[in-house]
Symmetry: C2
Subunit: 299 residues, 2 copies
């Protein structure tokens, strides 16, 4: 039987997997992201040893920025990343020529969104929006049963949301926009605002109601823009107990009865949910991309 490979290429670690889904994982490995040639070769070795000639296709869900434009000369590259050594790395070209299989390429968050759509908390639900709140804020969107690409890909972390400076005088930390969503609500933004790491703030600290407010504003805008059938909120910051429930309350309050759809009005706990695949959403999404799209030209 043919096997599929997936890589979640993160800026700190690579997660590689061979299999056909969460219930048929054949092999799995994780290693730190070192310099590009060494790291990519380590992935290549893993797939050669674990899948050999049975590898049908490979999916790569990568940190970015990445070039997803099929007609671009740098399609398949990690482009202008500040990560030392990785700018303009032809990750797709290196993998496909070494392994001689089709490679499906996407952003890390589109990969995780697709994993959750295929096997997780949004199974079969399109459109779906997946947001990760951690060191940064990123989002993937499934639309028409595939990851959304366009001019580039969604960049929802930089959405501009209401910021009441009387209630929260913090300027935000985004180097581009100051108080965009990521600038106000990422893990490092919480840490900077309150002078201690987010994970050390006690459960009843006002940091969390403010965080829920910003994430609620973002969720409302995403619901209004995409009309998703499910919203998934993941990432390190969302590990905070009770935070997702507070975000749901903010969404209900901010929506103010406007969208009278049952799943929004009365079933928010099934509409705005945590990821079901946990830390494996990205690499499983990469496998799903390989399974579902390796026979097609990139869109």
């Amino acid at each position: 039987m043919m096997l599929y490979g997936g890589i979640e290429a993160g800026a700190t670690k690579f997660v590689c997997m061979v299999g056909r889904g969460p219930d048929s994982i054949v092999a799995e490995t994780t290693f730190p992201t070192a310099e590009p040639a060494e790291t990519i070769n380590r992935a290549i070795d893993f797939f050669r040893v674990s899948a050999g000639g049975a590898l049908a296709a490979l999916g790569v869900a990568s940190f970015g920025p990445v070039d997803l434009s099929p007609n671009s000369p740098t399609y398949g590259y990690i482009t202008t990343t500040p990560k030392p050594g990785w700018a303009w790395t032809n990750i797709v070209g290196s993998l496909s020529s070494a392994l001689n299989v089709p490679v499906v390429f996407d952003t890390d968050v589109n990969g995780a969104a697709y994993g959750e759509y295929r096997w997780g908390a949004a199974r079969g639900l399109s459109p779906t929006v997946y947001v990760t709140v951690g060191t940064g804020i990123g989002g993937g969107v499934i639309s028409c049963r595939r990851p959304l690409h366009g001019l580039v890909h969604p960049e929802i972390g930089h959405m501009l949301i209401p910021h009441d400076r009387a209630a929260d005088p913090f300027d935000g930390i985004c180097p581009f926009h100051g108080d965009c969503l990521e600038g106000l609500a990422s893990g490092p933004a919480i840490g900077r605002r309150w002078g201690q790491p987010a994970e050390t703030l006690p459960p009843h600290h006002e940091a969390w109601s403010l965080e829920a407010r910003y994430l609620g504003l973002a969720a409302v805008n995403l619901i209004l823009c995409h009309s998703p059938l499910r919203v998934i909120l993941g990432g390190g910051v969302m590990q905070q107990p009770g935070l997702i429930a507070m975000v749901r309350e903010e969404v209900e309050r901010l929506m103010a009865g406007y969208l009278q759809v049952p799943s929004v009005a009365r079933e928010l706990d099934r509409y705005i949910v945590p990821p079901a695949l946990g830390g494996k959403a990205g690499v499983l999404g990469a496998i799903a991309l390989a399974m579902d799209f390796s026979g097609q030209p990139p869109d």
Copy 2:
């Protein structure tokens, strides 16, 4: 040769057309939106007389709220509208049973977006975002080459954007949200804020730079959420000379160099554009929906 029908069902007028596109319009009529039976019968008579047995399918782009869920018992209805007499009107059922043709149903703004995508300012460009700024603010989205549906459909007019109350103490007029996008930037909001109808404000009035700021914030969020290949800004308020250029400047300023894509960074005048089909985008979009989707079940 088979003909296609289109209806732009507006709250004030119905525009009906028979043809196969902007260069092959066979017949066209416009009449005021009276009570439902009378209005729908007038449309039916128009299509019987103008197309007769040659009518292959009909598209309807309607004011809302509408029910687009194919499995809903009220699919094809105009639902909870405050317009007297029109709540829970089965517009699709009435038209399809009288004319005995497939009917493709969508929102007025998704229809206009599809018209512009098919024959207008966003020809062949998917994703595309279409925003109309007038009595209200609405938006249609083309994603994967068809109008975006999900939980319902995009409702971008109620997006929550930064509102600097020091610079603009106006509370906004949205009955649900106060100072959402529509509450701050629709035509009636401009009129209420400045104490005179928007169209009577002189070209250098500060109203227009404030309007450009709010529309620029909305455009940035739409670009970040959908990654569209084109953004179309239409509607009565956008008739104000120079306003679209001011919105482009705001987008450039607010984006702050973040999306280094040529069409955003240096070609904004080709990226954020007025509609090409003018007032006929909706009815032509309805015809295009009939041509392209009448053979398919509603999604």
